[in-house]
């Protein structure tokens, strides 16, 4: 018999909602928090689009509430990190970073997505020394200093506006000539006297890796290819996210960008494995849609468990194998 009926990986809105629902269905879920416990909302400030809070709620407070609510109905939360999964045998088995293993009948994946880096080398080398993907964490270090924000979406505008509390000037560098951000965020950003924009441009280089601190950026205009150096002290990257699916490569169908493909609700290519939240959604990516899909995954998992034959011993699960996408022969 499996150690658990259901294990949930991930502790953002998707994972915690799945936990709430499976706990209330008396499945005694185990929820593995992961390193980025609480998910992306832990790094935000005021959340104004979570229904039910007319004055908004702080992201970290919302996550604490969700967690306590899930625990109230019997969710067991562990703060480990899953290092390997085997979906090819039944029950599924999970190996944790501390060496422990565990088996489960159903698995809900809500591992979310993590901030993307520029991948120009210098940005990662200067991480913690002037380059950051978290304004609420690191804005403090740039009091009275000029900084840049890279990106043109809602998150980029939120970061830029937030950073004006500290920085003397915030320069937004964006690849296009208009923002992708929602109208309300655009208006807020355009109205802020501390925010300036460099359009149609990308960051070609960040100085100065040798000195171990940021002294400026080299901006490339994508229309003219002209390079311009802008002296500043910090760079905040807000160019979107990459799904956390490395664990499942070769065992679940993913799209080209690495997101888990779901069908008929939250079902993945492997029966008994369900996915919810940003790990399978690059379109909506909202707290509320993540929570909604977490609820769907819980209901799907519950139905799946109800329909399972009486467990005897470990069986093969040949369906849960997906060849890497570059191998045409194995394409489903």
């Amino acid at each position: 018999m499996a150690d658990r009926k259901v294990i949930i990986i991930g502790s953002g809105p998707a994972g915690l909602t799945a936990a709430l629902y499976t706990a209330r269905a008396n499945l005694k879920p185990l929820l593995v928090e992961g390193i980025e416990a609480g998910g992306q909302l832990m790094l935000t400030t005021m959340v104004e689009n979570w229904p039910g809070f007319r004055d908004g709620i702080m992201g970290p407070d919302l996550m604490t509430e969700m967690r306590v609510q899930a625990e109230r109905f019997g969710t067991e939360v562990v703060n480990g990190n899953v290092e390997r999964v085997d979906l090819r045998s039944r029950p599924f088995s999970l190996a944790f970073a501390d060496g422990k293993t565990m088996t489960t009948d159903a698995l809900i994946i809500a591992t979310g997505a993590s901030a993307r880096w520029l991948e120009i080398g210098c940005d990662r080398k200067l991480s913690g020394h002037g380059v950051s993907t978290c304004a609420t964490c690191d804005g403090y270090f740039f009091r009275g200093k000029p900084i840049a924000v890279v990106g043109g979406g809602d998150s980029a505008m939120e970061e830029a506006i937030y950073l004006t509390r500290f920085a003397s000037k915030v320069t937004v560098v964006h690849r296009r000539d208009s923002l992708r951000a929602s109208k309300i965020m655009q208006d807020k950003a355009f109205a802020n006297p501390k925010i300036e924009f460099i359009w149609d441009s990308e960051i070609a280089d960040i100085n100065d890796v040798k000195r171990g601190e940021v002294t400026g950026i080299v901006v490339r205009n994508l229309r003219t290819s002209k390079l311009t150096e802008v002296p500043l002290d910090g760079v905040f990257i807000a160019i979107g996210h990459t799904p956390n699916t490395a664990l499942f490569r070769g065992q679940l169908e993913l799209d080209e960008a690495g997101y888990i493909l779901t069908h008929h609700g939250s079902k993945t290519s492997c029966p008994g494995v369900f996915a919810a939240g940003d790990v399978q959604d690059h379109v909506y990516r909202q707290a509320i849609t993540a929570a909604g899909s977490g609820c769907m995954a819980a209901i799907d998992a519950e139905r799946y468990i109800d329909g399972l034959p009486i467990p005897d011993e470990t069986t093969d699960n040949a369906e849960c194998f997906v060849a890497p996408p570059n191998n045409e022969l194995f394409k489903p």
């Binding site: 832990m42 790094l43 970073a97 991480s127 913690g128 020394h129 950051s132 609420t136 403090y140």
Partner: protein, 107 residues
Amino acid sequence: MAAENVKVFTDSNFDEEIKNGVTLVDFWAEWCGPCRRLAPAVDAIATEYNGRATVAKMNVDENPNVPGRFMIRGIPTLLIFKNGQLADQIVGLVPKEEIMKKLDQQL
């Protein structure tokens, strides 16, 4: 705010404290979400490495000088010192096992 076995470093005692042996310093602040998430791992390491390595926390709000000297512009940042010299660093949230691996390399 530090668990048992976790020392609290300040700008004034820092240099004296890191002089001998292997020291892991966790730079943090009250308002930093990821720092709070990292804290249990640092606390556990302090207990596990008690007697072999010193584990300490340094609040960047209260102690601006040392973070400035090491050009820390983001937290959580962990610095590992060996006999007073900077030996390794870890920026951002990482699993406990990764911190232990880097610490072991200095022991």
